[in-house]
């Protein structure tokens, strides 16, 4: 097999999240005759694992890890040197980033372009800018070429004025020309200097197709950042020389003193070019400084940015209107304006609504919140008050009261209204239903007498307990429910149903009315709440729960019609924020990473209902690769039914600890629940969830996010320690190995 004509050097550093898509787009090139040399500059994330995974599938990948952190310039140089060492006969070379995406025809097109034009030293396609989510976010591709320009001086001038270094540097070049041009010199903005020197070598050709998608993480360019990234082991003095001066000096030195382009380019011409560079690049530099100043200003005074954007919009609108002549352009632009107007109106409406709703919120709510927010209130005073109450009433007495109540219920010959359940899903699944299961068995309550009352389509959890299910949302509107339930919370201090409230009474009356019941007896959740609070507050042993709850699998769900909507095999996911998993940047990043990694191998179905039904704020990672949203299937009246059906048929459930995370084991589905603030956890619930997992024989893993890294390390170690890996001849050479 002949050596490849093309070699690609990919300097890598901490972009493990985007790397799979990047590598796949390179490996999917229709032009397959190339080598991909990945040079990892001591990444601290999973970069090495990702590359090794692909290297094990594709022999074209060569992986090398630098023995120490080199910084960007030296890493790029090393990528070039190693690539050419690996494939010395390679005709063409390109740098590839660790986060961009290439069209499958990128390489074939550029190779054909360079083959067809021997005068060209660099070929590159049109490209578009994409955001971290992969969506195109620029207006149009940039264009620049020096095709057909034979005069070196003109090429130099054109390149100086119009090049887009950050884009062009990722083109395919002739390896020999890049070497002659000095690869990457140790200066700031080295790509500009390289391209300027390449312009002296030959023409640049741009192919008209969009074949490269450049990922953009926001305005992150700054010389300070470059200094840090380029020289991680200490900044040399020349790093502080303005880049255009150092470039001009380097050019003059190369062309005039060393005469590297002789005889093609005389020393005098070299001096002239160096001078021209100093002048033109100086002007460009001042323009960039102004831009940077603007960015810095907006970073510090964010309130100025909308004002600036508006003024700029007016200015652009004014200049645009004056030169509208093409029909197509006219339509695009005028509709663009209309779209902006529409968004502006919508934003104003949203803001107004928010202001109104905040303005008329019951002052009591704010007051309570304020009281709760007082120092020591949450951490000391409220728990103390609860303990005081519990200490006064021994659990034995409560057991007696509970049994007496249940006996009364059992003895009556009337229908039994069970509920209404108005509080959290987690308590319903973990305690209320097991408690009812025990009560039905213990007191021989006949299912035909039971009218279970809950909300949101929770009926299928009770199917083997009761013959009748009444959904609160069949009795009142969602808004009415939310309003009344919130008032109940205010009255009771929290959402736990410790006593029968006015709202409970109202619901019972409505149930009676709707079902034509005259005399009923109530089995209210307070019976369970008042009993088990001793255990939750660690004033009673686990035996209190064990004696009064039966844990068993829930009846299977026939979801044939809904399954058509779902992927063949999937993992159900629901993350939301709560005190034990607060809305922090770290938690958002972790969840995003989790979902993206998961979706890369298995379809993910998000259980976010798209409804605000409780005090939890859903995390929405957006719909992306392999992430399926089903919020269109959910309405307030049946969101729990849909979520249960989806979980029951999933391979696994992953989400915020609590609530739905408890549900998986009841349907035989392994579950993982994440939390990050253990102080906000009630440890007894954690204990119950682990016992539940053991009893039902289904894994329910509760994981502190701080432990995630430890678990990853553990699994990495296990993977690396497999006999197959250990027996590989290159396993002992971690710094540079071909896989």
């Amino acid at each position: 097999m002949s050596a490849p004509r093309v070699v690609i050097g990919a300097p890598l550093y901490n972009h493990a999240d985007d790397l799979p898509e990047t590598l796949e787009s390179l490996l999917s090139q229709s032009y397959r005759d190339f080598r991909l040399l990945c040079v990892d500059d001591q990444s601290t994330d999973a970069t090495a694992d990702v590359v090794q995974r692909y290297a094990s599938q594709d022999a074209r990948i060569v992986y090398s890890r630098n023995p120490r952190r080199l910084g960007m310039i030296d890493n790029w140089r090393r990528a070039f040197e190693l690539a050419l060492e690996d494939t010395p006969d390679a005709e063409y070379f390109a740098w590839a980033s660790d986060h961009d995406i290439w069209h499958p025809r990128w390489l074939a097109t550029l190779v054909a372009e360079l083959d067809a034009h021997p005068d060209a030293v660099l070929a590159y396609p049109r490209n578009r800018r994409i955001g971290p989510d992969g969506v195109i976010n620029d207006k149009r591709p940039w264009e620049f070429t020096t095709a057909g320009i034979d005069d070196v001086s003109t090429r130099f001038k054109q390149t100086m004025r119009r090049m887009s270094a950050g884009n062009m540097i990722y083109g395919l070049g002739r390896a020999a020309a890049i070497r002659r041009a000095g690869v990457f010199r140790h200066v700031l903005v080295p790509d500009r200097l390289l391209l300027m020197e390449l312009a002296l070598e030959g023409q640049f050709r741009q192919v008209p197709d969009v074949l490269w998608f450049r990922r953009w993480y926001g305005p992150i360019f700054s010389l300070q950042r470059q200094r840090r990234a380029f020289f991680p082991n200490g900044r040399p003095f020349y790093a502080f020389v303005p880049w255009w001066i150092s470039h001009a000096c380097a050019l003059t030195w190369t062309l005039t003193v060393r005469g590297e382009r002789l005889p093609r380019l005389g020393r005098w011409t070299g001096l002239r070019l160096g001078g021209r560079y100093l002048r033109l690049a100086g002007l460009l530099h001042f323009r960039q400084e102004l831009k940077q100043l603007r960015l810095d200003l907006f970073e510090r005074a964010t309130f100025l940015k909308p004002l600036y954007l508006r003024v700029r919009g007016y200015y652009r609108g004014f200049t645009r209107r004056s030169r509208l002549d093409q029909v197509g352009a006219h339509w695009r632009k005028s509709f663009g304006d209309a779209e902006r107007r529409r968004r502006l109106v919508q934003r104003s409406i949203r803001k107004t609504r928010k202001a109104v709703s905040e303005g008329i919120a019951p002052p009591g709510r704010s007051l309570l919140r304020a009281i709760r927010a007082l120092p020591l209130m949450k951490s000391r005073i409220i728990p103390w008050l609860v303990r005081q109450e519990i200490d006064e009433v021994p659990s034995g007495r409560e057991v007696g009261l509970m049994r007496a109540e249940l006996r009364r219920v059992a003895k009556s010959r009337t229908p039994i209204i069970v509920g209404p359940w108005l509080s959290e899903v987690g308590f319903e699944v973990l305690y209320w239903i097991p408690f009812l299961t025990w009560a039905v068995k213990e007191f021989d309550l006949s299912p035909d007498r039971l009218f279970v009352v809950s909300r949101g389509g929770a009926g299928l959890w009770y199917r083997d307990l009761a013959d009748h299910y009444v959904d609160v949302f069949d009795l009142m509107s969602v808004k009415q429910f939310q309003r009344r339930n919130e008032a109940r919370w205010q009255d009771g201090g929290n959402q736990k149903q410790m006593a029968v409230s006015d709202f409970d009474d109202q619901i019972v009356e409505l149930v009676k009315e709707h079902h034509g019941l005259r005399d009923v007896v109530l089995l209210h959740p307070s019976v369970m709440y008042r009993l088990l609070r001793y255990y939750w507050a660690e004033k009673a042993a686990i035996s209190l729960l064990q004696k009064h709850a039966v844990y068993r699998r829930m009846p299977a769900i026939d979801a044939a019609s809904m399954l058509k909507t779902l992927p063949h095999e999937y993992v159900a996911v629901r993350f939301y924020f709560r005190p034990s998993f607060p809305d922090t940047r770290e938690n958002r990043a972790l969840v995003t990473r989790f979902i993206r990694a998961l979706a890369a191998t298995t379809p993910v179905v998000l259980l976010n209902p798209g409804l605000s039904m409780d005090d939890h704020e859903d995390f929405d990672p957006g719909t992306g690769m392999g992430v399926h949203k089903i919020d269109h299937l959910m309405t307030p009246t049946q969101n729990l039914e849909v979520q249960s059906a989806v979980i029951a048929n999933a391979r696994a459930f992953i989400g915020t600890y609590g609530g739905l995370a408890y549900l998986g084991p009841f349907y035989g589905v392994p579950s993982i629940g994440l939390f990050s603030n253990a102080e906000e956890l009630v440890l007894t619930h954690l204990d119950v969830s682990r016992r539940l997992s053991r009893q039902l024989g289904v894994p329910l893993v509760t994981l502190d996010v701080q432990e995630v890294e430890m678990v990853e390390t553990l699994f990495d170690t296990l993977t690396r320690e497999t006999p197959a890996a250990a027996s590989r001849p290159d396993a002992a050479v971690p710094t540079s190995s071909r896989l």
């Binding site: 995406i101 339509w331 779209e339 529409r342 909507t565 890369a600 719909t623 299937l633």
Partner: protein, 363 residues
Amino acid sequence: MSDVSATDEMMAAARTAADEWDAQLAVRREAFAYKAYERVRRQVLGLMALGRNRRLTGHAPSDYWSGELAKFEYMLDASPLIIEKLRHHTHNLTGLHANHYRQSLDKQRRRFTEKLAALRALDDADVWIPESRLLGGFGFDIEGELVNIDTLKFYEVLIALHAGAVLGEMRQATERKLVWEIGAGWGGFAYQFKTLCPNVTYVITDFPELFLFSATYLMAAFPDAKVRFYGEVPPQETFADWQEVDFVFLPDTFHGTARPDQVDLTINMVSFQEMTTQQVEGYVRRAFEFECRYLYSLNRDRSHHNHELSNVRSIIGQHYWPHQIDLLPVSYTKMLHEDPDGEDGGYKHVVGWRRVSGAEPAQ
């Protein structure tokens, strides 16, 4: 007596008229398009009979399509007059009627002209192909060319395929390419694509009943094309000499049994959004298994009334990296003056690139 002779005379005239009409129909039956239709009908009846059992075992069309298919049962016994105006009968599939495009509808015509101009401004590869006047082709006459909503849709798709750097490969192909369209409707896009890219074999997967439109139309449009229906040769040989064939018609129920050696582009327009998640998954997975490098989709993420589908782009994303291509601010169904679609509501041009996962390691 005179009454009797008058009646005889009238009956004789009627007989003559009927004979003349029969003679005319006999001539029309000899027309190429009708002959093509007769061949298609023979094949469709065969395919329907073959497919019946499979449909009983879970491959039945959705309720929506069962109703739609029943609407044009009459096409199984179409007269030459129907075939001559075949495009007028495609309203069963598209909802477009010829009388929506009367020249007198000036305002509407102006909007079509504007939209065409906007599209032309985006077209830097000259991929415009007007509606053919064949078999009753209709549309607004704009500068001597027929333009209807389908024509604009196909034009937009071709521009998107070009912008996605896919069409150029097909147009300049020196080696034969194979394009697989899932749900080709009346064959309008196949006609345009084959006109632009003659060196492709175009495979259409659809309900057999729809071949009455698409196959007849395409055979009439390309009289010299070599056409193959599933079942004309043993199934495993369907693609044996695919480079020699111009069009292959594969019924939906049998799309799994005939495997082409290569598929270069898979296309779906406006039907993934009507399917269930598992159906879309099935098609996307099949394209992936065929090692098809590109998958193009023009669909909404989910049709508003379809509750059996999660999200088209997500499903494509399981096997292809989806890249959205934005052209006009409005969907193909709308004219430029109408409100743009919401962020999730509109039709999206998506070009998917095949993912590596699952592929064999390189040599």
